[in-house]
Symmetry: C2
Subunit: 320 residues, 2 copies
């Protein structure tokens, strides 16, 4: 099959004849139709996680084979953490934190930038008819955005800052704004922030924030920068909450004293609920269309990954 | 008055004729009778917070002057954060986080290692008759230990690790053990851990913990070490909680990715509820007596601070 892979030397290549993955009985064989490039793909391309194999974890596709015949032919998305089902974390119901998990296109599981992928049937969610492929491909990052609301209460009495106007930041800002909280989306790019201001959200350039120290009840760091946490610590009020959404290549220095003295909560946040993400896409409260800047065929996947490093681009999709 | 002070050159001195603080109408004048040396005093002596003036924030004493005549002659302890009452934090009821606060013997407020101190009358708590001076002097650090239970739920279903067998660690371990949680107190000193094992608590040397990675629901870092957080990250399970109890002189490096990927909560924790600390001392569930290793007169305060750096010592008290 055709695939975009990180090969053994760490290079990103288009492989026209990559071996297709073979499902066992609990897995379904899926033909991705549309896939999204995520910043994590760019980090993986730089060596993050030491991943080798087919890239891609954001997709929508059609089930070709599955033990449950009702799944066959269905348009689906798949949760990306493939759990073992019998470790301590799985026993607690924390399947996304399975100690033996593989992760689609990130850790030991062949990804979605290819003609075929396999995923556990239990990970699949059928995409409602009213949700287009171009929307459905955002299910995974939108679920990650919604995870914040699974972890902490966000309400209309709170001042919330979302730092970062990348793809994830824009989804988080839109998702949290639905709670009615007093939200400020903070970024560096006029073209990106305008997507939010166009929807009535309050935006600010990070260079304008000097006087805004210690006023936010909740600060979300979706900057993808090692210095994001330090800035978040400046913005959050005593007893406030910082949610960390992005992984970084290098560990950062941290002012532990500020966290202790001001009793700040720092909360890591990763993958989220696919069912709620699909509901949000169906309801139309989240507009992903303005975030799509490019759609390229799979064969041009290497070019797509390069293009994704360009700050004037946002979501780049691969048509498969 | 007599006082132990950090003078303008940063030296710790016994001053036999230090000016006594003068209370305004909302403040009471208190004669401390017994005070405790805290690790924070040692950090202040090294330059932490840039504090100059009379040291000491753990004490019990007698009210000599107060607008409320019922307070006069009473044996009291005092909350150490002196709030302005009209800032954003005070408006939220977060007086311990007042933006204009002074802090007894730590920030802009003359401390307890002296013949007199002043404190806002509203900060005072009358010590029950059944609580001795030697117990009452532990109210402030015990309140800090109990703060953890104000912030998060600790229950019998949880595995909890308390890292650090210093004074605060021993109080935290005793306090959290009252919840019935499965608690392990982790330290480096046989003599200190034996205080806990003598009360039926499970203890471990930190060198023994190699196989215990990622099993604890809650990890309290009371090590006072910049590397404490990294060790706590090894011990806590995915979706678990780390409570940071100690401030350090140098910021530490932090593996932000571990926090994000495993969705860990890192929570700063500082001062706590004096009323509950006094109740706990009254109830007898917390045994502070074995922690007192030395009692020196105020005149020997400089020596007491030196002695407090000796690992074979625990709580050192000053008789005033």
């Amino acid at each position: 099959m055709r695939a975009i892979v990180i090969n053994d030397t760490g290079a990103i290549k288009f492989d026209p004849s990559h071996p297709a993955p073979v499902p066992n009985s609990s897995y379904a064989l899926i033909r991705p139709t549309l896939a999204g490039v995520c910043n994590t793909d760019l980090e993986l391309a730089k060596g993050y996680m030491g991943y080798k194999g087919v890239l891609g974890h954001e997709f929508t596709g059609i089930v070709e084979q599955a033990e449950d015949s009702e799944l066959i032919g269905k348009r689906v998305v798949s949760e990306i953490n493939f759990a073992c089902g019998h470790c301590t974390m799985c026993d607690r119901g924390l399947h996304r934190h399975c100690q033996n998990r593989t992760v689609l296109g990130i850790l030991g599981a062949s990804g979605a930038f290819a003609d075929y992928l396999i995923a556990p049937s239990q990970n699949l969610h059928i995409v409602p008819d009213s949700v287009s492929d171009r929307q459905a491909v955002f299910t995974e990052p939108l679920a990650a955005a919604l995870e914040i609301m699974e972890q902490i209460d966000i309400n209309p009495d709170q001042q919330v800052a979302v730092m970062g106007d990348g793809k994830l930041g824009l989804l988080i800002a839109q998702a949290l704004a639905t709670t009615g909280c007093d939200l400020t989306a903070i970024g560096r790019h006029e073209n990106r922030l305008s997507i939010l201001s166009g929807r009535g959200l309050k935006t600010a350039f990070d260079s304008e924030l000097k006087g805004e120290n210690s006023i936010f009840d909740v600060v979300i760091d979706a900057t993808g920068s090692p210095t994001g946490l330090a800035t978040a610590l400046d913005l959050v009020r005593p007893c406030g909450t910082i949610v960390l959404k992005t992984t970084v290549s290098n560990p950062g220095e941290l002012d532990i004293n500020r966290i202790v003295i001001d009793e700040i909560q720092v909360l890591g946040s990763r993958c989220g609920p696919f069912d709620k993400a699909l509901l949000a896409l169906e309801g139309g409260g989240i507009d992903v269309e303005p975030m799509i800047t490019d759609v390229l065929p799979l064969e041009r996947g290497v070019e797509a990954l390069k293009l994704a490093e360009d700050n004037t681009r946002l979501k780049i999709l691969l048509e498969i």
